[in-house]
């Protein structure tokens, strides 16, 4: 890519202190994202995918978290933002939608009020204009009878409607980057696909970049241009979604894809990955997947392998990848 990317994450590291222990949730994540691009981040619980996302919006509890590395979004040095500048960045440049729409709305304010609040905060328009914008956004996310829904409280809407309203809220100030944290996980199957399609459509229309975190390969395949796979706080593979899904390079990605039941697999055994992810309070010195890896070599245990290119835009953090790989 020739133009400067919209998002530039370098060596992002996040650790929490809990009960005297330091939990290394994210350990050196680096990636770029172009304007208007959709990147999926795939990972299981504890892989650090949600923490990475929250770090991009600085939503982690300040006093218990240590963040290292750098994050640049649209020219803002995100990790250095303070006070008013941080508030101006949140919601206007980057906004976020969450897993549980019921929990991410304030239960005692109406939906309309909560959208208008954000519009007023970032554009400085008056109440009336803000409500008009809220109404327009509810219409855009195709909530039926939006004028009535403006006055609804979160508990008065169904799960799918609430998530639509959350999207309306997130897009109300036309952000350049949308962060989506498992936004369809809590929804029913027939609702999930509606929300995915809506997100895809609005992404085209608004032209924003999206980072979409999910544990579901199918969902990631539906929305992503590029796909990153995280394991134990590291990005272990990144590349075009088609390549990652069709020709995974990292043993973990391959294991994950083969443990997923799809199509008619009756009567065949699932090739599950043995073992469990490492303890984030005591990560191994080398590749964190090595203890579960069938192709492990002594080098893997010595130090964390670097990202190695499999093709021009597809890389994985494994010594067996790429032209220089040991035979």
């Amino acid at each position: 890519m020739s133009a400067a990317p919209l998002v530039e994450v370098r060596d992002l590291a996040v650790s929490f202190s809990r009960g005297g222990q330091s939990i290394a949730a994210v350990n050196g994540v680096s990636f770029d994202l172009a304007a208007g691009e959709v990147m999926g981040v795939l990972g299981e619980s504890g892989s650090g995918k949600s923490v990475t996302l929250r770090a991009l919006l600085r939503l982690l509890p300040e006093h218990r978290t240590r963040i290292g590395g750098s994050v640049r979004v649209d020219g803002h040095d995100v990790l250095a933002l303070r006070g008013r500048a941080l508030d101006d960045y949140r919601g206007a440049v980057t906004s976020m939608i969450f897993q549980e729409p019921m929990l991410s709305f304030d239960p005692v304010f109406t939906i309309g009020r909560q959208i208008a609040e954000s519009v007023k905060r970032h554009t400085g328009v008056d109440d009336k204009a803000a409500r008009a914008r809220a109404l327009e956004m509810l219409d855009r996310v195709r909530i039926p009878s939006p004028a009535r829904r403006l006055e609804a409280y979160p508990h008065e809407m169904s799960g799918g409607m609430r998530q639509r309203a959350m999207i309306a809220l997130a897009l109300a100030c036309r952000p350049k980057l949308l962060l989506a944290d498992e936004p369809t996980t809590a929804l029913d199957a027939t609702v999930q696909i509606q929300i995915l399609l809506l997100l895809r459509e609005l992404q085209q229309e608004f032209g924003m970049a999206v980072i979409f975190v999910t544990h579901d390969v199918g969902v990631a395949a539906e929305v992503s241009d590029r796909l990153g796979v995280m394991y134990a706080g590291r990005l272990v593979e990144i590349g075009p979604a088609v390549d990652v899904i069709e020709s995974p390079s990292h043993p973990y990605t391959r294991g994950l894809l083969s443990s997923i039941v799809r199509g008619d697999m009756r009567g065949t055994r699932i090739e599950a990955i043995p073992g469990a992810p490492p303890d984030l309070a005591a990560l191994p010195a080398g590749c964190s997947f090595a203890p579960r890896c069938a192709h492990v070599r002594p080098e893997c245990l010595a130090s964390v392998p670097p990202m190695r290119a499999a093709t021009e835009d597809h890389a994985a953090r494994c010594i067996l990848v790429g032209p220089l790989a040991p035979a």
Binding site: E44, S45, S158, G159, G160, M161, D188, A189, T190, V191, Q192, I193, Q194, L196, L197, R200, H215, D216, V217, G218, V219, A221, E222, S224, A241, V242, I245, G255, L256, S259, I260, V261, R262, G263, D264, M265, R266, R269, I270, E271, A272, I273, P274, A276
Partner: protein
């Protein structure tokens, strides 16, 4: 089926009151399970799929008698449970066991893993020593080395390990039927795969019959011989796994199947099969429960109860379009199988 089914549900009904009236009287009812009948052959796996509010968990709880049905009967080996001349309830409970979704909530935090597994046999009069022995061998069988894990408490285990304990606990009574209510839904995919493999091994080894309840259509397809699709407390469609997945007849089943993400970035889903959310099953209107979201709905769909109708060998559908002379404009094309 000619052989007597191991477990059979006949016209099960369960309603829950919605409180709110004066003096706490119920003003309306949640029709959680409404006139549901099905039978399971010994050694078979019946998959149950559906979205929230479809009644799949209530059905599970009815089958293990954690809830009493408002109407209908449950038969074990053709004999009704819990009535005179039927199967005594304690007998039935020993033979039908259940694994819950929440691996943490389903283990007593004050008991060691071993004590939890040994509890069932103890209740049924097995000696302490024998129960402990059985617990340890089952823990070993589900992949938890007893010397390391037997003395642990639930919070000292991971989600996948806890679910293994729950499976061991369910097997401790040497049941013939195991109800798995979203038993792998809370697990990560790589762990889920391990547990699914384990479940299939155990089924073969102990000759178990499974009722496998899940919202994940891929997993249900993998695990089941037959599949039952539920919508708002009713059976929409019931049939062999192949005909449900390759030849779905009910519009809801077809919608569910086409709502599955494609898993292929080159062939993404382009259209959502349904609009809106599944409604609440509170005081549903008469007729087909699905008609409000069905694109083929006609006036006739709102009249009377829609019965399951044979759409093929062992394949039943609750849709007028598949019933000849049912009055729906598509009914004409339906053929008598």
């Amino acid at each position: 089926m000619t052989a007597t089914p191991i477990l059979e549900a006949r016209q099960l009904v369960k309603r829950f009151p919605v409180k709110g009236g004066l003096l706490g009287k119920a003003r309306s009812w949640v029709h959680a399970v409404d006139d549901v009948s099905f039978a399971i052959a010994a050694g078979e796996s019946l998959g149950v799929v559906g979205e929230s509010g479809c009644g799949k968990s209530t059905t599970a709880r009815l089958l293990v008698h954690l809830l009493e049905p408002d109407a209908g009967t449950i038969l074990l080996d053709g004999r009704p449970i819990g009535v005179t001349n039927g199967v005594p309830l304690t007998q039935a409970r020993r033979q039908i066991q259940m694994v819950f979704q929440d691996s943490f909530a389903s283990l007593n935090p004050r008991l060691t893993v071993e004590a939890s597994v040994a509890f069932g046999p103890r209740v049924h009069g097995v000696s302490q020593r024998e129960a402990t022995e059985r617990a340890r061998s089952l823990l070993a069988r589900v992949g938890l080395e007893p010397d390391r894990f037997a003395g642990r408490y639930p919070h000292e285990l991971s989600g996948g390990q806890r679910q293994r304990v729950n499976i061991a606990r369910a097997l401790a009574l040497q049941p013939r039927v195991v109800i798995l209510d979203e038993a792998v839904s809370a697990l990560d995919k790589s762990v889920e795969a391990q547990v699914l493999n384990l479940l299939l091994d155990l089924k073969a080894e102990f000759g178990l019959t499974y009722v496998f309840i899940s919202h994940d259509l891929n997993v249900v397809r993998y695990m089941s011989d037959r599949v039952m699709v539920m919508y708002l407390g009713k059976i929409a469609e019931l049939g062999p796994v192949a005909s449900i997945y390759d030849d779905a007849r009910h519009p809801y089943t077809r919608a569910l199947l086409s709502a599955m993400p494609s898993m292929n970035p080159r062939r993404r889903t382009t259209q959502a099969p349904l609009a809106g959310d599944p409604p609440n099953p509170i005081d549903p209107p008469p007729g087909c429960r699905f008609k409000a979201r069905c694109r083929h709905a006609e006036e006739v769909c709102g009249q009377g109860d829609i019965q399951l109708y044979a759409a093929g060998e062992a394949h039943r559908v609750a849709c007028l379009m598949d019933q000849p002379r049912a009055g729906h404009s598509h009914s004409a094309k339906a053929v008598v199988p």
